[in-house]
């Protein structure tokens, strides 16, 4: 079972990503709605992949990323970004993020990431 975490303060955004993952059978999904919530749930579940929003209440995605990497280096962190955040993306990649998607992303982008992880896993 591949463990995927969706960390975003927007319920809409979480629903979109969850919908894109519907066709996969061997997948379990955890949702988090702010930076602190993400950290707590990450520690509890140690997911294989995290879709991590950059702008969230309580702790930003970047701060969360740094903490997560201290807990488990092997989880793949995909930053969910917007147009015009290239500096933040650069910093995230430096700090151990595996990749990023930019809103408005397409279903295929999410699936590609999952497929790749499934193969490795």
């Amino acid at each position: 079972m591949l463990k995927v975490m969706i960390a975003d303060d927007s319920a809409f955004m979480r629903t979109i990503i969850r919908n894109y993952l519907k066709e996969y059978k061997d997948i379990s999904i955890v949702e988090a709605e702010d930076g602190e919530d993400t950290l707590i749930k990450f520690e509890q579940t140690i997911p294989d992949i995290v879709f991590l929003d950059i702008i969230m209440p309580k702790m930003s995605g970047l701060e969360v990323l740094k903490e997560i990497k201290k807990i488990n280096r092997s989880s793949r962190i995909i930053m969910v970004t917007s147009v015009g955040q290239s500096k933040i993306i650069e910093e995230a990649l430096k700090n151990g993020a595996s990749g990023y998607i930019t809103k408005p992303f397409k279903a295929i982008e999410i699936r590609r990431i999952i497929d790749k992880a499934m193969k490795k896993w």
Partner: protein, 491 residues
């Protein structure tokens, strides 16, 4: 094709974000810190990202360019000015319109060029139009209020049917309990938090003050009070009227206030508290107060002289009575305090005023929490029964002749209910002391009842003494007395 469920999540989340933006925008002028700006940034960012995924490019771009302005403020490149606040409010209005249209299945383009022009020229930006202020309720299912009325009627019929059948007492108690619960649930369904309705007022006051070149600190405390839908609808227009009056006639210009030694920033307060079966809503300002001299002059012109202060204050509630010399944009255009009182009276409410020269004016409204079911005292004259709402009653006592001197009873103004309603022989066994400092002599007291009030036809409402009708046990119908109307008729 967009998934309907997804669209609904998008809409409700976006409306919430817009509410937050509006709230923050209105606070920005008073004070703000890094956390507030960050929250604002996040709200706009969420709107931008979500709408882009929904394919609403135009909407997303508007959120984006406003987000840029907020980021410039965060970076210290731009200051918060009232024009920035106006921009935020105007943008959130525009986005809300867009969402409203999407909800109706239409997608209307936003004039982005207009917004870009506004942003590049924030210095000379005019405030938004203030003419239409409507309140919006939260995203929930819509039920016609008439359906809720029907539901309430049906449940009260159910109670009547249960009480008319002979059956096992245990069963009867159980049925009564369930039907009471049902009725209470229906009553609760009709309640709306005042916050939802009043949330437009800070914005309205801000715009009005801008137009009048006045500075106003607006404070509102609704204390979580919820009122029946019907009541809320009935008080909205009186509230708007009182608030407009407070801005226009109450609060002085900053210069005048400084000359009087007052804070140049005026204060308007709305406070709501729950009291027994009613809500007391106070609208007060710290402005110039009501000018007794002017009212007195105006009264003299109409041939009324030698009035006491309380009587002069009563005059402002008379139709066609206005002391305003000028007709401003805001008030002085016909609808007056008499309409305010009339609106409140129709729902069984009342309004009083307290004022002090240069200290300010307070309007105190008392409205029932619930329009339909109320506790009443059933009183009577001869064979006839009437209902008097408990919220109007202070206490009831035996009639004592020695307290009665001409038209005074124990210091209060006295009325014989029978005489007022046109019965010639009217015995008096009891006296009902009313909240409005008058006393009502009645022949019979039948006790306290919970009654379902039905509104009367328009023709009957011309009879000021009554505000509705209720069905008592055994299908007996009684009229509900309107205390203020009754006394007016008597005078």
């Amino acid at each position: 094709m967009v998934d309907k469920e997804l669209l609904n999540i998008f809409l409700s989340e976006s409306y919430e974000e817009l509410d937050k933006i509006n709230k923050i925008a209105l606070e920005l002028e008073k004070k703000y810190d890094k956390a507030t700006l960050e929250e604002l940034d996040r709200n706009l960012h969420t709107l931008k990202g979500n709408s882009s995924l929904m394919g609403f490019k135009n909407f997303s771009e508007l959120a984006h360019i406003v987000e840029d302005v907020v980021r410039e403020i965060k970076a210290g490149k731009r200051k918060v000015s009232s024009n920035v606040v106006n921009l935020l409010l105007k943008a959130s209005d525009e986005m809300r319109n867009f969402l409203d249209n999407v909800k109706r299945g239409k997608e209307k383009k936003i004039d982005l060029k207009g917004f870009k022009k506004l942003i590049s020229n924030l210095e000379s930006f005019k405030p938004v139009d203030v003419t239409a202020f409507q309140y919006r309720t939260k995203e929930t299912i819509r039920v016609a209020s008439s359906k809720l009325d029907e539901l309430l009627n049906v449940s009260s019929e159910l109670k009547a049917v249960i009480s008319s059948f002979k059956m096992d007492i245990m069963l009867k108690n159980q049925l009564n309990k369930v039907s009471d619960e049902l009725q209470q649930m229906i009553i609760d369904l009709r309640l709306i938090p005042l916050d939802d309705v009043f949330s437009n007022y800070p914005r309205m006051i801000r715009e009005l003050a801008l137009n009048e070149n006045k500075k106003i600190n607006f404070v509102m405390e609704t204390n979580g009070v919820k009122l029946d839908r019907g009541i809320v609808e009935a008080i909205n227009s009186p509230m708007v009227h009182l608030l407009r009056n407070a801005v226009d006639h109450g609060i002085e210009s900053p210069d005048t206030r400084i000359k009087k030694g007052k804070n140049p920033v005026g204060r308007i307060e709305v406070r709501v508290v729950k009291d027994k079966e009613s809500a007391v809503i106070t609208v007060s300002d710290d402005g110039r107060g009501i000018d007794f001299r002017k009212i007195s002059e105006k009264a003299n012109e109409e041939g009324i002289e030698n009035l006491k202060k309380e009587e002069l204050l009563e005059l402002i509630f008379k139709p066609g009575f206005s002391t305003s010399d000028k007709v401003t944009e805001i008030s002085g255009r016909g609808i007056g305090m008499n309409v305010v009182r009339e609106n409140l009276r129709r729902i069984g409410g009342s309004i009083d005023v307290e004022t002090k020269e240069n200290k300010g004016t307070s309007f105190i409204m008392r409205v029932p929490l619930n329009i339909s079911i109320m506790n009443a005292l059933i009183i009577g004259v001869g064979e006839k029964k009437y209902a008097l709402l408990l919220m109007n009653i202070k206490n009831v006592e035996k009639y004592r002749k020695k307290e009665h001197h001409k038209n005074k009873y124990n210091g209060c103004r006295f009325y014989n209910l029978g005489h007022v309603l046109g019965t010639k022989k009217a015995k008096m066994n009891y006296v009902v002391m009313l909240e409005n400092k008058s006393a009502l002599g009645v022949e019979n007291i039948y006790g306290k009842r919970e009654i379902l009030i039905k509104r009367l036809d328009k023709i009957l409402t011309q009879m000021k003494s009554f505000s509705g009708a209720a069905v008592l046990e055994g299908e007996e119908v009684c009229l509900v007395l309107d205390v203020n109307g009754l006394i007016e008729n008597a005078n």
